[in-house]
């Protein structure tokens, strides 16, 4: 009996979320020690906002990583930048309606890029890292080509409204993302037939194929999904920022990978969670924010950021020993 209890204890401790949660708490305490206002509603609220956007990016990234076959989406930042540019250009009579159409449009746009990624990876056999890396330069090039580098973007008030306070530190954007996160995790990833197939395909494509699962399309859809979610994230980003810039989201690509891994997902595929990615995103944003609060030269800041990241990875994401 106590053996069983012990097991449950060990299971909980081994839960892949634990390090990220513990890390976040430590960072919050550390932040509070450094600056009085760190835990102010406003700051928490702003941290949540930034976390929300990175969370969206990490959901996209996680889907592709889970799909296996060295899946990685290096075009997430580019897709986000693209939809941040083009999304707000949609103008209808009512602002609300515009936003509704924007949401659909950015999902479609992102999904299209994802589809090309997926086809490249599955049919043309280009390695995901390279396919998506090149697609990211194609997408950036496309944005410049179409807008001539001069996007006519003015973000409408309805879209800007995502920064409005809801309850306590939670603003509309964070609320949407949290709800979306849970829905996607539970009903898309864990419960849906698609999500379950995704895990199997990501784990062993060959076996999944023999089971009658069409792994090609399952993987392609993972890229489409990632593109669509990244598209949505881009729209959120521009709503949050209020203005659009070329390449404004380029840093989200690697950050999303880091968030997913810190959240306990292995890069080898077939395994992982969206919620973990969200926690990873929180950790990364907390680190960045704390470092902003410390007044130091830029080089040192970047150095410390890297060291913290390495430390987290060493504590959290080591591969199991070869010898058991």
């Amino acid at each position: 009996m106590s053996q069983a209890k012990n097991n449950i204890m060990i299971e909980t401790l081994k839960n892949s979320y634990t390090p990220a949660i513990v890390g976040s708490i430590l960072l919050l305490i550390f932040g509070r020690v450094l600056s009085k206002g760190f835990l102010s509603i406003n700051n928490i609220s702003s941290i949540l906002m930034m976390t929300s956007i990175l969370t969206m990016a990490s959901i996209a990234q996680a889907a592709v990583i889970i799909s296996g076959d060295s899946g990685l989406d290096m075009s997430i930042g580019a897709i986000m930048s693209m939809t941040a540019l083009f999304g707000p250009m949609i103008v209808l009579q009512s602002e609300g309606a515009s936003v509704a159409v924007m949401v659909i449009a950015v999902i479609v746009m992102g999904g299209m890029v994802g589809l090309i990624n997926g086809i490249g990876v599955q049919f043309l056999k280009v390695v995901p890292l390279v396919m998506t890396l090149i697609m990211s330069s194609v997408v950036n090039g496309f944005s410049i080509f179409i807008t001539k580098g001069q996007p006519a973007v003015s973000v409408n008030d309805a879209l800007l409204g995502i920064s409005k306070q809801l309850v306590g530190p939670v603003r509309i954007l964070s609320a949407i993302v949290i709800i979306l996160l849970v829905l996607l995790e539970v009903f898309f990833l864990r419960k849906s037939n698609y999500g379950r197939s995704l895990f199997l395909v990501g784990n062993n494509t060959n076996a999944a194929n023999l089971c009658g699962i069409n792994s090609k399309w399952v993987i392609i859809f993972a890229y489409v999904f990632a593109g669509a979610i990244a598209g949505l994230a881009g729209l959120m980003l521009v709503g949050y920022a209020g203005t659009a810039q070329m390449n404004m989201a380029s840093s989200y690509t690697m950050l999303s990978v880091a968030a997913v891994v810190i959240g306990g997902t292995k890069l080898t595929g077939g395994k992982g969670t969206f919620i973990g990615g969200a926690l990873g995103a929180l950790v990364l944003i907390l680190i960045a924010t704390i470092l902003q609060a410390l007044n130091m030269v830029a080089g040192l800041r970047s150095l410390i950021q890297g060291v913290i990241l390495i430390a987290i990875l060493m504590v959290n994401s080591r591969a199991p020993k070869l010898r058991q």
């Binding site: 043309l124 330069s137 090039g141 080509f145 890297g306 390495i310 990875l313 994401s317």
Partner: protein, 327 residues
């Protein structure tokens, strides 16, 4: 070493083809290639070629390294700073090289001994190395004796340029290394880590060595770059890392490890360099340039993968000579 007929079946063949084709296009567009153009091409791109070699060896053992660009920045900053403090160029360059090797060893230790994922490790260390570079030299600037550039642009026997010598040196070191038992073991490790361990292969040791060598290539790249720009720029290598991976893949190196070699990576990097020039020479409208460049790159990669993939090739053949199997 490589027999003529066999070249076609080598994994680097597609990249060789791409490179030749694009050189030809460049030649046609500019009514012949001038010696000075080729010379500047070599002078400018040797750092990129070095990194392609470095990243390739890490990919071969199933890893990767995206911190090499930051190491290049760091080496550049170290050399310029030391030269500014009055050290001789030689000493400065050697210390720069040493720093690069240390960075490589550090990557190797975290990846090999601490068993952290290589992509993320080097993402984190790239932040660290770039941070240190920026910390040492917050402002671009400083200068170094022009003799350094002269040395770099000059060469042995008048025609073998220094950068080519340096590249050959790196190629030799690696080619030598893979002819020792280390080489086969590295390829084995790239194929399957668990089996490598079960076969008594020193997994940690190989990873550390490989990243050390990658550090060395970044060091040489840093020296070359410094000789090209003769000045310090703390962010100069930032964009180089991902390019080098693309170069490796175009050169037929499998990102899953165990397949390909540095020769392909060099050709791949060569292709990328000539591509930048071609897009300019073709004088596309500035807004379409990056789009077109991306598309060419995509087509190039797909072409090189198709050329190397027997199954796909057969499929395509099958489409063209229909009925071969059926009637």
């Amino acid at each position: 070493m490589i027999k003529g007929k066999k070249v076609v079946s080598q994994s680097f063949f597609p990249s060789l083809l791409l490179l030749v084709i694009f050189f030809a296009i460049m030649g046609v567009m500019n009514h012949g290639l001038t010696l000075s153009f080729v010379k500047s091409l070599i002078l400018t791109n040797t750092p990129a070629l070095c990194l392609a070699i470095g990243v390739t060896v890490t990919i071969l053992v199933g890893g990767t390294d995206i911190s090499l660009g930051s190491i290049v920045s760091l080496v550049n900053v170290v050399i310029i700073t030391l030269a500014g403090l009055g050290y001789s160029i030689t000493i400065s360059a050697l210390i720069g090289l040493l720093v690069a090797v240390i960075c490589g060893v550090f990557n190797g230790i975290v990846i090999g001994i601490m068993r952290v994922n290589p992509l993320l490790t080097t993402f984190a260390t790239s932040t660290i190395y770039a941070g240190i570079a920026l910390w040492i030299l917050p402002n671009p600037g400083g200068s170094i004796d022009y003799a350094f550039a002269k040395w770099y642009m000059g060469g042995l026997f008048g025609f073998i340029m220094t950068p080519v010598m340096l590249l050959i040196l790196l190629v030799f070191i690696w080619a030598g290394a893979i002819r020792t038992p280390f080489g086969l073991k590295a390829y084995a490790l790239g194929c399957n880590e668990k089996k490598a361990y079960a076969s008594g292969i020193n997994v940690n040791g190989i990873r550390v060595l490989v990243h050390t060598f990658a550090g060395l290539t970044a060091g040489v790249a840093g020296i070359c770059l410094t000789a090209t720009i003769c000045s310090g720029s703390p962010t100069v290598g930032a964009t180089m890392s991902l390019n080098s991976i693309a170069a490796a893949v175009i050169g037929g190196v499998s990102l899953n490890g165990g397949k390909g070699g540095i020769f392909g990576a060099i050709l791949g990097a060569g292709f990328l360099s000539i591509l930048s020039s071609i897009v300019v020479a073709a004088n596309f409208s500035s807004y379409s340039q990056s789009f077109i460049k991306g598309l060419i790159l995509l087509i190039g990669v797909i072409a090189s993968i198709l050329a190397g993939d027997k199954v796909l090739k057969d499929k395509i053949k099958g489409i063209f000579c229909k009925g071969g199997a059926k009637s």
